[in-house]
């Protein structure tokens, strides 16, 4: 099956930042959360794919078609919502949506109206008079009304209040239920992506450090407390290790193998605690100190 998108050896260099070499892909029907701190390269990654930035080298495809900036067909499959929401500012929501509808054969006015109603979006207001939350909603309606096979969301809820954020996420859940749609969701707000994502990819300093199914993270990652008097404690799959006397606290990326080793070393009072996605993400992004389990 064709991938929703692929990045192959993509590099984009700025005077003070370098993205890549980046290799990334996404299967149709999958939600990939793209997690990283501000300035990690999330937006640059998406901008290269949608054509807002020209990569220095490498190749990108959308459903098997190269994202050639001088061709148009590959863009039909994309719905994009970025941090900046651009419209014809003196036109109202209806006029902006009508304008967009001309370019997408799959555009459904009914779907656009239903989404606008679902969002309680005032389509008769001029774009420049819309609040930040309503601009996000209008962008989402515009991105979803042509039923794109690939949805690219770049911090779509940044700058909006928690109530609107919940509404947006609810609609995204509904979208997911009604189609075999691939979603690439870049964010630094973990709770929102931990609800939606099937997989998570962690990016920092322009490099994807780690990608894994979400379940693997919550099943395998643990914070383990134990006591051990030895000085030469060397454990595999350990991300973080703190010690105070003979009391140890470790964060491990493969709980089962760590527990086996601890038992072999004779550790006592072993206590394993599950970790939230946010805690795990913080550990992964703390200097990219992820250690692959043997």
């Amino acid at each position: 099956m064709e991938k929703a998108f692929t990045y192959t050896n993509v590099i984009k260099t700025f005077p003070d930042f370098k993205l890549g070499p980046l290799d990334l892909d996404l299967e149709p029907g999958t939600v990939l959360g793209f997690v990283g701190p501000n300035g990690a390269g999330k937006t640059t990654t998406i901008h290269c794919l949608v054509g807002l930035l020209r990569a220095d080298s490498g190749e990108m495809t959308v459903f098997g078609r190269s994202n050639n900036l001088n061709k148009a067909d590959w863009k039909l499959d994309i719905g994009y919502v970025g941090e900046i929401h651009v419209f014809y500012e003196r036109w109202n929501g209806h006029q902006n949506l009508n304008f967009l509808s001309q370019f997408y054969p799959n555009w459904s006015p009914e779907r656009a109206s239903a989404l606008a109603k679902r969002f309680n979006l005032p389509l008769d207001k001029r774009a420049k008079d819309l609040s930040t939350g309503n601009r996000v909603k209008l962008s989402l309606v515009a991105a979803l009304a042509h039923s794109p096979r690939l949805l690219l969301l770049d911090e779509p809820t940044s700058g909006i209040d928690p109530v609107v954020r919940e509404e947006v996420l609810d609609v995204l859940f509904e979208v997911l239920e009604t189609g075999d749609r691939a979603i690439f969701y870049a964010t630094h707000i973990l709770p929102e992506i931990s609800r939606l994502a099937d997989e998570l990819a962690f990016i920092d300093h322009g490099q994807v450090w780690f990608r894994t199914p979400k379940e693997d993270l919550t099943e395998k990652w643990r914070k383990i407390y134990f006591t051990l008097a030895r000085d030469d404690v060397s454990l595999a799959a350990i991300v973080c290790h703190e010690r105070e006397g003979d009391r140890h606290q470790v964060v491990c990326s493969d709980c089962a193998s760590t527990l086996v080793q601890l038992k072999e070393l004779g550790a006592g009072n072993i206590q394993e605690n599950p970790m939230s996605i946010e805690e795990i993400a913080v550990q992964i992004l703390k200097g990219g100190r992820y250690v692959e389990a043997d």
Binding site: P15, V50, G51, L53, R54, N70, I84, V86
Partner: protein, 229 residues
């Protein structure tokens, strides 16, 4: 591409309408107050005024849409780079053509020029308008490949050159034996170019220059490194 042009005209029609109305009103009032001057003088004066108003409308349009990140918006649409780049110029040309045609239609009964002169004038003026509108786009598109300090320098050079060239052209086209002495330095230049401007050769050259500038603006747009503005 036509969908973008239609949208652009629909979006900017108040500006286009006001600019057109002002142009026509100004030309007609001048004609009524001063009387229609001799053939050459009227042609050159008309041309300059129309050029000025086209440039005015263009810059007002740019000012009102630059803040709206139009290139970013259009780049995300399923359109080729060529279509987006061309649409930026064609809507201005549509406005310009409508404006000039209207003017000629209104004043035709009282100014019976030979048809070929009108056609040559239109061709030359269209070439000029194409050039004048393509150059700022070329400059801004090239700027995306330059550092900030170079961008500012390029913008200063282009702006100064454009204003300078515009003034020289304006005075050259409008200078007469009765103009202020200082302006009469442009008379030799006017005498040199006048035969060409009213001919197929001169207007053709202007038009070709305009088409080259248009092609260049499309090419530079397609080579842009960023559309994030």
């Amino acid at each position: 591409m036509w969908r973008l042009i239609k949208a652009d005209i629909r979006y900017n029609w108040p500006i286009f309408f006001i600019a057109s109305a002002l142009t026509l009103a100004l030309l007609i009032v001048l004609g009524l107050i001063l009387g229609w001057p001799d053939q050459d003088q009227d042609l050159t004066g008309t041309r300059s005024l129309l050029m000025a108003i086209a440039a005015f409308a263009f810059f007002v349009r740019i000012l009102r849409t630059m803040g709206e990140k139009r290139d970013r918006y259009h780049t995300l649409l399923p359109l080729s780079g060529t279509a987006i780049a061309l649409s930026r110029l064609v809507s201005v040309i549509c406005f310009w053509t409508a404006c000039v045609l209207l003017y000629w239609l209104i004043t035709l009964p009282i100014r019976p020029y030979p048809k070929e002169v009108i056609v040559y004038e239109m061709l030359a003026a269209s070439g000029f308008v194409l050039m004048a509108n393509a150059l700022p786009y070329i400059q801004s598109d090239i700027s995306t490949r330059l550092r900030n300090s170079f961008q500012r320098a390029l913008w200063m050079i282009v702006r100064t050159t454009a204003v300078g060239a515009g003034l020289v052209l304006f005075f050259t086209l409008n200078v007469t034996q009765t103009s202020w002495r200082i302006l009469r330095v442009f008379l030799p230049l006017k005498n040199q170019i006048s035969p060409y401007l009213g001919s197929l050769l001169g207007s053709g050259l202007f038009l070709i220059a305009g088409i080259v500038a248009t092609w260049l603006s499309v090419h530079v747009f397609k080579k842009r490194k960023a559309f994030v503005e």
